[in-house]
């Protein structure tokens, strides 16, 4: 019985693949989005962003006249499901550019992407490992690494209160732990004291011990890493209950509207780093474009989050790399051309979504500090775009 099942499936897929292989190899992007699972809030927005950029590009004539192909699968934010989905997509469509769902998947597939698949690759991550062109030139980040973001925060704290007591509050995951070691080093160099490190599960229920630990160690600034909104809002609220006066800061994925909605009147307690402008900053041309597109195609959608912006940015860079590589001898089907094209991006205007983009070590090391505004429940920029090296 299982043999028959095998045979049938083999035959079907075999025919399907033969069919695809015979067709001409158009510019193709394949993505694994965390459409369900713990990171779904980002995956759903990211998938929408990628689809929007692909549609916008094809409406404007595609890649120098060729239609941009785009296929995606749900990785459920689980590494094994994501890797299987990646392999399935690759076998079916042979993309030149791919996109992954997490830091974990990036680390797992990294060596194979370099040696075997040779696609330009980015993901829902800002880990250092994906911005190391000497080790793996195919991986890149559409923004600053977590370590860079920590750098922005720590420099900001050192300016505001030199020698302050810090706590790192991070999640018990790859995403949470990634920049912590580097963060400790940077803090030491800036003369800041990391007096406490609190760890919690994502979605931890009872955080009293972590909060009380921070109280006992007289923490003045608490930096979150590896969470989105839960349990940041609980920590902020409960620390007020315990009579503590801590300033809270965080990196990219938590500097989101969702967090401000939960903090409500306490929104002003949170300051975060983001690499992109926000959806409501509609004095910027690219934001206006996104707003117009969204209102036109998806009238029910009220807001696009920073996750949307991050993937939007990645896809813009994908499209630009395709266009530049297309003009090179061998076209975009030669992996080295795509890498060269990508790394050649300098002062690329993205309409205010970020300052003009220059790729540096396969990442874009710029960031901006925003503080929550309790009356408007929006983020106000409290610094200019900071360039990190």
């Amino acid at each position: 019985m299982k043999k028959t099942v095998f045979c049938v499936i083999s035959v079907f897929l075999f025919l399907g693949i033969m069919g695809v292989a015979i067709a001409e190899q158009l510019p193709t992007i394949c993505a694994v989005h965390p459409y369900t699972g713990r990171f779904a809030f980002a995956g759903i927005e990211g998938a929408a962003a990628m689809q929007d950029v692909v549609d916008m590009t094809n409406e404007a004539g595609g890649i120098n006249g060729k239609k941009l192909q785009y296929f995606w699968a749900d990785g459920e934010y689980k590494d094994d499901v994501g890797i299987a989905a990646f392999k399935r997509l690759y076998a079916q469509h042979k993309p030149q550019i791919t996109f992954g769902q997490s830091t974990g998947m990036t680390k797992a597939l990294g060596p194979e992407i370099k040696d075997r698949y040779k696609t330009l690759y980015s993901a829902y991550t800002f880990a250092e490992e994906a911005a190391n062109p000497k080790v793996n030139p195919y991986l890149f980040l559409p923004g600053p690494t977590y370590v860079d973001q920590f750098g922005v925060i720590l420099k900001y704290i050192a300016k505001e209160k030199p020698g302050a007591n810090l706590a790192f509050f991070y999640s018990d995951t790859e995403f949470g732990r990634e920049p912590i070691a580097a963060g400790r080093e940077m803090a030491k160099k800036l003369g800041l004291k990391v007096v406490a490190e609190e760890i919690s599960q994502v979605g931890g229920v009872d955080l009293a011990t972590q909060i009380l630990d921070m109280k006992a160690k007289k923490v003045e600034y608490c930096i979150f890493q590896g969470f989105v909104s839960n349990p940041i809002a609980s920590v902020v609220k409960q620390s007020k209950d315990y009579g503590m006066n801590i300033k809270f800061m965080g990196t990219f994925w938590s500097t989101e509207q969702q967090l401000l909605n939960e903090l409500g009147p306490l929104a002003g307690e949170y300051t975060g780093v983001s690499a992109y402008s926000f959806y409501y900053q509609n004095d910027l041309p690219e934001i206006k474009k996104i707003q117009a597109w969204t209102k036109n195609k998806f009238p029910k959608v009220q807001y696009r989050s920073q996750s949307y912006m991050a993937v939007y940015m990645s896809t813009l860079l994908f499209v630009e790399s395709f266009k530049r590589a297309d003009k090179m001898p061998g076209g975009f089907n030669k992996p080295e051309n795509l890498v060269k094209a990508f790394q050649s991006i300098k002062n690329f205007d993205v309409g205010g979504l970020m300052p003009p983009v220059t790729i540096n070590d396969n990442s874009i090391p710029v960031g901006r500090v925003y503080r929550g505004n309790p009356s408007t429940l929006k983020f106000d920029p409290i610094s200019d775009w900071v360039r990190l090296e």
């Binding site: 369900t36 699972g37 713990r38 779904a40 809030f41 018990d172 490190e197 609190e198 760890i199 919690s200 599960q201 979605g203 931890g204 229920v205 009872d206 955080l207 009293a208 011990t209 972590q210 009380l212 630990d213 109280k215 006992a216 989105v228 909104s229 839960n230 349990p231 809002a233 609980s234 609220k237 409960q238 209950d241 315990y242 009579g243 969702q258 909605n261 939960e262």
Partner: protein
Amino acid sequence: MDFSILLQIVVVGIAAGGVYGLIALGFVLIYKATSILNLAMGEFMTLGAFVCFTALTSLHLPFYIAFIITLAFAVLLGVIIEPLILRPMIGEPVISVVMVTIGLGVILKGLTYMIWGPVYRAFPPIFPPKPLLLGPIVVPSGLLWGFLFAIATMAVFIMIFKFSRTGVAMRAAAFDQQAALSMGVSVRKVFALSWSFGAIAAVISGVVIGNMSGLNIYMGDIGLAVLSVIILGGLDSIGGAILGGFIVGILQNLTGFYIDPLVGGGAKDIAPYVILLLIIMIRPYGLFGKVTIERV
């Protein structure tokens, strides 16, 4: 040794322990009557929390009505699940029964996801936000009200069991099914009712925890940690569940505060399981459980 911090931790532990005790009560109620360990309790909790959430936000009902709706839902859940899924499993080996409850949990988790999605949501505030101040000790509002709800529910259950006809019938069926049947107790109804009671305990805990730390589909994972409470207290002892809840709550918070920094975090979450293993090795029937001695 900073005594005020130690006392604070113990107080927080007691408050958290009250909630654990409530969840444990749910387990025990079902086990006592039907000898089934319902590993889907966590998912019952999550479902209950989401139902209450929807009643509050989409239907804009005041809390006490939303709460009553949630309780009604719990009763419905118990009454539907028991005959549909558990009745056919009577007489099957233990592993099948355990797997059925696990399978049920997986189904419920999937359904919850399909209906409400993966987005983490904040519970609309239903309790006054001011914390309770006992001298230097602070009890945050979420914990405080959770504790009060848990204690109130436990008290109600204990009174039902002691004084009402239904309660006495349930105790009789749990003690000796044959004798209860011969006295005219409908054991079928008792089974369904005990599942409903268990579900009620679960959904109340769900509402309380949802209020404390927000709602998402993973909040039910705490259900498995509560197994340590019921093992400590004894699988079929109500008093044991309550007492065990407090003990585990305090131990867990103490571990979290003093040991977490030594092992780089996570000790707090693993503490219940270590306690569990120790108890099973030393005294498997817990503090008040019925001892079935089998010596070969």
